[in-house]
Symmetry: C2
């Protein structure tokens, strides 16, 4: 009834989880010297794309829970990666900006993501890469 070793490699939740685990771990190690986590890096990329977004906007762009984001933003404010500014129009809102420090490191940080991506895909042919991404996008 249960043949785990044969079933696991067929189980998508497991495969996706482990593939993510590996990619996440690799990127994570790359970011460690900067004192940034993957999630925090992602937030910065979002803010570089559009500075001054609200938490809700960021949450939608990055497809992540607002409760999770709330904590992430707190820590990033503490560590000086971002700056929160109250919105004069709507007192419920805080607009979020990358800090100077973040902007200084922007080229290096973006390069790290690109490198990490290359590393993950280096064992696949260009056609496989395209297909792989399409399959993942279709799943999401």
């Amino acid at each position: 009834m249960s043949n785990l070793p044969e079933d696991l490699p067929e189980c998508m939740v497991f495969l996706l989880g482990k593939a993510y685990q590996k990619a996440h771990g690799d990127f994570s190690r790359r970011l460690r010297p900067y004192g940034l986590t993957n999630m925090q890096h992602l937030v910065l990329e979002g803010l570089w794309y559009q500075p001054g977004m609200t938490a809700t906007e960021l949450s939608k762009l990055l497809i992540l829970d607002k409760a999770t984001l709330s904590g992430v933003l707190d820590r990033m404010t503490e560590t000086g990666w971002i700056i929160k500014q109250p919105d004069p129009e709507d007192r419920r809102i805080q607009r979020i900006y990358p800090s100077e420090q973040a902007n200084r490191l922007k080229p290096n940080l973006i390069a790290q993501r690109q490198e990490s991506n290359r590393e993950i895909l280096e064992h696949f042919s260009p056609e496989e890469c395209i297909l792989f991404k399409r399959l993942l996008r279709d799943l999401i």
Copy 2:
């Protein structure tokens, strides 16, 4: 330099993370009525495959951190899904078994995983499914 909306769909860490997020969420909802989490379900499948494994063995089979597993096993003992028995040969070791309750629900639980898997893959052709799994396995 940073064109997030164009880059995100190309970034493997992001794609893998979101694909996993979705698959995990789906399976999670399926398991909620049983009071089981995805991880706990995975542990049970491991123990059904080979009852009496040690935490270290389970940790290797399921590719997960021993510190994480330690907490999972604690909660599963509390909630009566597994049973820990000391090993008479080696006092460092505890052998782990699925409980009666777990065994009773085994057919239903395994069916849930299979259903969840089908649901995730239903938008892909049989060839795509095979390829998708191969790509994920090669990545791991």
